[in-house]
């Protein structure tokens, strides 16, 4: 809901010692005029303090107390009370203990522009401008979330880096020569180690890093030392070559059997396909249309015919596989023995490797004939190695392997396994963190891109309005291309085209008043673009640097382009004030005529009745001195009003110093006016005036009766009654409106017409 101000009441606040209310009607705009030092900025201060909890001018250390009027009544409150057309109103009291949420709306919306801080936004650095804009636009929350995402991304980057360092440390421990570490190589290494120690050989890295396997190794370490090196060497069995298996294989692998092998292979594939898809209507091999049942029968018949050959082939394959496993096992055992002997300081040459022709996978496809002599040579080499090993172990020192050595080796194995486990864990952790980082980066980059896009949309919107408003203030001047644009990652800046040259920022080419116009345009554009709840704008002395022509342009802009806003324009320029009033007759007007320490700002509106009420209130609370001060002020206000309304002749005084006339002068003025316009009335009133003059001397002079206690209270009461009687002479008892001399008897009547002046 858009809200407007209806009534502002300040009590003992800044330049207001007592109470001052500003009536905004039902939310009308108002022009407020006052010379310097008359307290008009107190009105802007009150609104700033009410909506933001502080006054920027007083935000520096040691100035906060100045929210209160220095001469405020002891024990009286300092407060600002605001009535609005919605929910923004309320009462703020010093010291201000309102929660920060109270200022949420004003923190987001634009409502106050002061002459003294006019160029603040223009002069901010590009980063400060961005922050200010972010605050106004509510981008802060969006920006905070971006910072969260950035923080997450940064933390994950650090974690990935730390995980990488940990992984490299693990790899260095596993591979001191900096060669690449692979699971396969590590497993082979451990397997060899295990065989040498006679512990369970892990079949995979997963098994190696399992708790069960680790427990097994620990058990081996704590328990029996295992078979000795001598026993292991003694148990070596030289493999023998199964010549029958090689011959059988060579028969089925012979080239002349190739056609049958191919046929057999093809038929087996065909049968498998027919079994998988029994309802095919075409041959799965050649694609011709066939009857599936007939095709299956034909395949089976052909297979039966080749059954004998198939059986021979399978038998040959199995025989060859057994031979291959036996030869490979012989080599593996000897490698383990070699490793164990090496760890025990016994030098044995490495065992021979299985010939390639005997180690290949046994398969029909591409199978070649095997030379039985290769197998024989290999077996002889193994037998020779066995003899060498036996001799080496026999000649080695007796204490070559002790139970301590074995325990140490088992401990080394356990350490190695633990290192492998740590390496795998570090690799896994790094992978996990890399995936998380990739996701965090995707989200962050998408977020940042959207944020940039949105900022550009906003800036484009503001730029158009700023340019439009500036053109209203400076029509026809050679300045174009006014934009608010992004500058670096976290900055925005104003830019203009000046005689065809781009200027960003524009400070180098624009005068102070042009920069101030730009600031006013930016302020108004921000409010137009982004204000949702606040529908009023306070402009406090913003025209100081403007010449008369541009003051007129601003008055025109405000009254014509912002007629759907409530504007509170405070100025010390009477011409600007009159200009606004002429252009917008519907606006309210308020002239602050003077300021005094005791009474605060005085306006052209007389407040004698209200001040009289305050005096009675003080008296009811036992404050005779306070009541006397207020009574004197009420009398002064009433006599001034009578003098003005009856056009009393008073001695000429330069300037607008009527507010500072003595009470004696005012009494004389009242008598002169009555003598001229209502002589009979003067006779009636004269005793009252004399009594009031005496009251002023004796009772309403606070210093004179300051210590007279209860008797002073009664005298003040009497004086108050007399002032009320004098006030009542000019007020219709029926309609309560004033009645004065206005030239003709008809015009000198009250609103209801019952009372006339002079009274009959």
């Amino acid at each position: 809901m858009s809200e407007r101000l209806q009534r502002l009441t300040m009590r003992s606040f800044r330049g207001v010692p007592g109470e001052l209310s500003i009536d905004f009607g039902d939310g009308q705009s108002i022009a407020i005029y006052g010379d310097n030092g008359t307290g008009k900025s107190t009105i802007a201060d009150a609104l700033e303090w009410f909506f933001t909890g502080e006054i920027e001018l007083l935000s520096h250390e040691g100035r906060q107390h100045a929210v209160c009027h220095l001469g405020g009544n002891a024990g009286g409150e300092t407060s600002v009370e605001l009535l609005t057309s919605g929910s923004l109103g309320g009462k703020a009291q010093f010291p201000d203990e309102r929660a920060s949420e109270t200022f949420h709306v004003a923190g987001r919306e634009t409502f106050l522009l002061r002459g003294r801080t006019l160029a603040d936004f223009i002069n901010k650095s590009k980063t400060e401008k961005w922050k200010a804009l972010a605050e106004i636009l509510g981008l802060e929350a969006v920006e905070e979330l971006r910072q969260d995402l950035q923080r997450v991304r940064g933390d994950l980057k650090k974690q990935v880096k730390a995980a990488g360092a940990k992984l490299r440390a693990c790899e260095t421990a596993l591979s001191p020569d900096a060669s690449a570490v692979s699971e396969e190589a590590l497993l082979a290494n451990v397997q060899q180690f295990c065989r040498g120690l006679g512990v369970e050989v892990p079949t995979s890295i997963d098994r190696l890093t399992s708790a069960v396997w680790m427990a097994g190794v620990a058990g081996s370490s704590a328990g029996a030392p295992g078979p000795s090196l001598e026993a292991l060497v003694a148990d070596l069995q030289t493999p023998t070559v199964d010549a029958g298996a090689i011959d059988a294989w060579n028969i089925v692998a012979a080239p002349e059997q190739e056609a049958d092998r191919s046929r057999l292979s093809l038929l087996k594939d065909g049968e498998a396909l027919l079994s998988a898809s029994p309802s095919v209507d075409h041959c799965p091999l050649c694609g011709q249309n066939v009857d599936a049942a007939e095709l299956a029968a034909r395949v089976r018949t052909a297979l039966t015919q080749l059954l004998e050959q198939s059986t021979r082939l399978e038998a040959a394959r199995e025989g060859l596989e057994r031979l291959r496993d036996e030869l490979a096992g012989a080599v593996t055992d000897r490698r383990a023995l070699h490793a164990r002997a090496g760890s025990a300081g016994v030098e044995i040459p490495p065992p021979p490797a299985v010939p390639e022709s005997l180690s290949a996978e046994v398969a029909l496809e591409g199978a070649g004939l095997i030379d039985a002599r290769d197998a024989k040579i290999f077996c002889d080499a193994i037998a020779h190695w066995d003899e060498t090993a036996k001799a080496a172990v026999a000649s080695a020192p007796v204490e070559s392997e002790t139970s301590d050595t074995r325990r140490n080796q088992l401990a080394m194995l356990a350490d190695l396994a633990a290192q492998i486990q740590a390496w795998r864990s570090a690799a896994s952790e790094q992978e996990r963190l890399k995936r998380a980082l990739a996701l965090a980066e995707r989200v962050y980059e998408a977020y940042q891109a959207r944020q940039k896009e949105q900022l550009e949309e906003i800036l484009t919107s503001i730029s158009e309005r700023v340019a439009q408003i500036y053109e209203g203030l400076h029509p026809g001047e050679n300045l174009g291309g006014i934009t608010v644009e992004p500058w670096t990652a976290k900055g925005i800046e104003l830019a203009v085209d000046f005689h065809g040259r781009r200027q960003r920022p524009p400070h180098g080419v624009l005068s102070e008043s042009h920069l101030n116009s730009l600031a006013i345009a930016l302020f108004l554009a921000m409010a137009q673009t982004f204000n949702e709840q606040i529908r009023f704008l306070v402009l406090d002395d913003v025209i100081n640097s403007f010449d008369i022509e541009h003051r007129g342009q601003l008055a025109a802009l405000l009254t014509e382009s912002f007629d759907d806003w409530q504007l509170i324009v405070l100025t010390h320029d009477h011409q600007f004030f009159e200009n606004l009033s002429r252009r917008a007759p519907a606006w309210k007007r308020l002239e602050i005529t003077s300021w005094s320490y005791d009474a605060g700002p005085r306006t052209t509106k007389y407040e004698s009745v209200g001040i009289l009420g305050e005096a009675r209130d003080r008296l009811d609370h036992g404050d005779a001195n306070g009541a006397a001060t207020k009574a004197r002020r009420a009398l002064e206000e009433l006599l001034q009003e009578i003098c003005e309304r009856l056009r009393a002749e008073l001695p000429f005084r330069r300037g607008t110093a009527n507010d500072r006339r003595e009470l004696g002068e005012l009494f004389k003025g009242v008598r002169r006016a009555l003598k001229e316009h209502a002589k009979p009335m003067l006779k009636t009133v004269e005793p009252l005036l004399k009594n009031l003059e005496a009251d002023v001397q004796a009772t309403l002079n606070v210093e004179a009766h300051a210590s007279r206690g209860k008797s002073a209270g009664r005298e003040v009461e009497t004086a108050l009654e007399r002032i009320a009687r004098l006030d009542g002479l000019w007020t219709c008892s029926e309609c309560q409106t004033r009645v004065w001399h206005k030239g003709t008897p008809e015009s000198s009547r009250c609103r209801c017409g019952k009372s006339v002046f002079p009274p009959t």
């Binding site: 987001r108 636009l137 509510g138 981008l139 929350a141 969006v142 905070e144 979330l145 969260d148 995402l149 923080r151 997450v152 933390d155 994950l156 996990r432 963190l433 995936r435 998380a436 990739a438 996701l439 965090a440 995707r442 989200v443 998408a446 977020y447 959207r450 944020q451 949105q454 906003i458 919107s461 673009t529 982004f530 949702e532």
Partner: protein, 52 residues
């Protein structure tokens, strides 16, 4: 012009992103309402869980 709401803003971002983990966008949106001092930790935890 409407001020951006962080939750809606985030939604507009994640809606444009392909192949996010199941339920990630909704859970991330939910974290926007957390107090500022807890938010980044919660986001990091969600991202790590989702990437696992």
């Amino acid at each position: 012009m409407q001020r951006p709401n962080p939750r809606e803003f985030l939604r507009s971002v994640v809606e444009q992103m392909d192949e996010l983990p199941e339920g990630f966008a909704e859970r991330l949106e939910g974290l926007v309402e957390l107090p500022a001092e807890k938010r980044s930790d919660a986001i990091q935890q969600l991202i790590e869980e989702s990437a696992s």
